[in-house]
């Protein structure tokens, strides 16, 4: 690749790409900020911890949806990260090569299924199941949303982790083996630390999707604007920021306070995603030192 580095075309492409990416992000943030400005101006930051959302009474409390989004994300990651990681380890380290490609194909198919299909699967299969197991009034719950999401981010997690593991050079494995390290030591001391940047990207991409997914969550979360009682109760219907935007964006007239409030929900989501991403960047910096 190095001999291409000097041609102006490559430079041009790289610079164009960077400028495009940066401007896309800034235009998006500017748009969200601009569209929600009316809302922040009128209410300040207090809606972030107010818990009543009744747009027709000019009450715009974001807290129930923020808590909902938080729980859904946590649940999804708690299921998807261990499952994705172990699936990646099993398929790239243990199973023969011919199986690997099948598993990978399965994961890629999973990743390609439209989110509304996941939502409907949740509606038909997961909700009645949860309802029976926990004897709930309805299966619509944060737990259901988190479980559906975990299924949706599992392929991303697994494929990224698998790629990272496969990129570790053979010499390192051979050296580790010749040193007499057992499988556990090889995995925890050599493979996982080396693959961590890739795994981390997988986690971040998954987090982003978990935060931003609308359709599937909307169908199973119940869309009820109420802070869970008690706050860790994940078996009751609740609301997430995305499902609120999805449900109410169509009716909110462009330029109205309601519209601005929904844009504020979007801004909170975007800010959270950027914050998480920055946090992990810092973390990586510390690891490299």
């Amino acid at each position: 690749m190095k001999h291409m580095g000097n041609t102006p075309l490559v430079y041009l492409l790289i610079i164009t790409g960077c400028v495009l990416a940066i401007s896309c992000i800034s235009v998006l943030l500017w748009f969200l900020g601009d569209a929600s400005w009316q809302f922040w101006q009128a209410f300040g930051l207090s809606p972030l911890w107010a818990d009543e959302w009744y747009p027709y009474e000019s009450l715009y409390g974001l807290l129930p949806a923020i808590i909902g989004s938080f729980w859904v994300m946590i649940i999804a990651m708690m299921i998807a990260v261990p499952c994705g990681l172990s699936a990646a380890i099993v398929s790239s380290e243990i199973l023969p090569l011919s199986w690997q490609s099948w598993i990978r194909m399965g994961m890629e198919i999973l990743a390609g299924i439209p989110s509304v299909v996941y939502g409907l699967i949740g509606l038909w299969v997961l909700l009645p199941w949860l309802q029976n197991i926990f004897d709930l009034l309805t299966g619509h719950s944060l737990l259901a949303a988190g479980m559906i999401l975990s299924l949706m981010i599992l392929p991303t997690m697994m494929v990224m982790a698998q790629d990272a593991l496969r990129l570790i050079p053979l010499e390192q494995r051979e050296t580790a083996m010749s040193l007499g390290l057992n499988w556990n030591q090889r995995l925890c001391r050599i493979l996982l630390p080396q693959a961590w940047p890739g795994i981390r990207s997988g986690i971040l991409l998954g987090l982003g999707r978990a935060l931003g997914e609308t359709m599937a969550v909307m169908l199973v979360v119940g869309s009820l604007d109420r802070v869970p009682q008690p706050i860790y109760n994940i078996l009751e219907p609740a609301q997430t920021l995305t499902s609120r935007i999805g449900r109410e964006m169509g009716e909110a007239a462009f330029g109205s306070m309601h519209f601005s409030a929904l844009m504020a929900c979007g801004l909170v989501l975007a800010a959270t995603a950027i914050f998480l991403s920055l946090l992990s960047q810092q973390h990586r910096g510390r690891l490299n030192v």
Binding site: L137, T138, H140, E248, G250
Partner: protein, 289 residues
């Protein structure tokens, strides 16, 4: 690659390539001038079955007119007419004062049918003996004062109270008739649903649900109960809509902009014609003529 192509094109060192690219560009620029007239219709999922069936029949006699129909709710229907993203809005309630101000007298509000908003319960609830309720009892359920079917003479099961998104026409009409105010809060709500389909599915899938549904969506698993008025039980039937005795009935409207195309206006006339009204009857609503 692209850079090279453009360079080749500009320098003209390959006339065949140049011709091909120019031909391609020209093809892209030609728009289908004689394209069929498109009418997009958006809004209430209560009005939707009438319009989509009418559109199908209409397309057979007017093959040059393509009609796309999509839901979203009455609020979305009004918003798309205001924002001019749809030619025709479907609305299952009266437009609000704010909406009228935005519509600015530039639309005709045409009633094409009348229906009843039925109080729908799961089959199991109906069969346990809940055949009729008074408006006060229904209000108690939605306000969270009554939480078990046992208290109303039914099975010993908690009530799954289904509320609707605040912009939905059915919600407006129901809340006005039962709770006294179009945007009244329903503290007893267990979950929030959107379209008639979604609500119908939740009621059918559960054995303890109550919801609000247009009478055309009732079936074996989703039963409409009678409403007790002055000591008399009144079922949500066409006869009771016609004689005005059923308390929660409403007109189903389409919003037609004055500036709409000739084809759109002809289609609305078709809806009001004998054939159009026959479709209204077939769907299960009361025709207007």
């Amino acid at each position: 690659m692209l850079y090279l192509l453009i360079k080749k094109l500009l320098l003209g060192d390959d006339s065949l390539m140049k011709k091909m690219i120019l031909a391609g560009l020209t093809l892209c620029l030609i728009s289908p001038a004689d394209a069929a007239e498109r009418i997009s219709i958006v809004g209430s999922t209560t009005v939707l079955p009438v319009i989509s069936q009418a559109a199908e029949v209409y397309h057979q006699t007017h093959p040059d007119v393509t009609i796309t129909v999509s839901g979203g709710g009455s609020g979305v229907g009004v918003a798309s007419v205001i924002q001019k993203t749809a030619q025709l809005g479907m609305v299952s309630r009266h437009t609000t004062v704010e909406e009228q101000a935005k519509l600015n007298g530039q639309v005709d509000d045409i009633v094409i049918a009348t229906d009843a908003v039925a109080v729908a319960v799961s089959k199991a609830v109906y069969e346990s003996g809940i055949h009729q309720l008074s408006l006060e009892q229904i209000a108690d359920i939605y306000r969270g004062k009554v939480r078990n079917w046992k208290d109303l003479g039914g099975i010993d099961k908690r009530i799954l109270v289904i509320d609707k998104e605040a912009s939905r026409g059915t919600r407006h009409v129901f809340a006005k008739a039962v709770l006294g105010n179009t945007y009244a809060r329903a503290e007893g709500a267990s979950i929030i649903s959107g379209s008639n389909n979604e609500e119908q599915m939740i009621i059918a899938r559960n054995d303890n649900a109550i919801g609000m549904l247009s009478n055309a969506w009732l079936n074996d698993k989703v039963r409409g109960i009678d409403i007790v008025m002055h000591g008399k039980a009144i079922a949500p039937t066409i006869e009771h809509i016609r004689d005005g005795s059923y308390p929660i009935s409403r007109g189903l409207h389409v919003l037609l902009a004055h500036a709409a195309s000739k084809e759109t206006k002809t289609f609305v006339q078709y809806l009001l014609s004998e054939q159009g009204q026959a479709i209204v009857r077939r769907v299960g609503y009361l025709p207007v003529r």
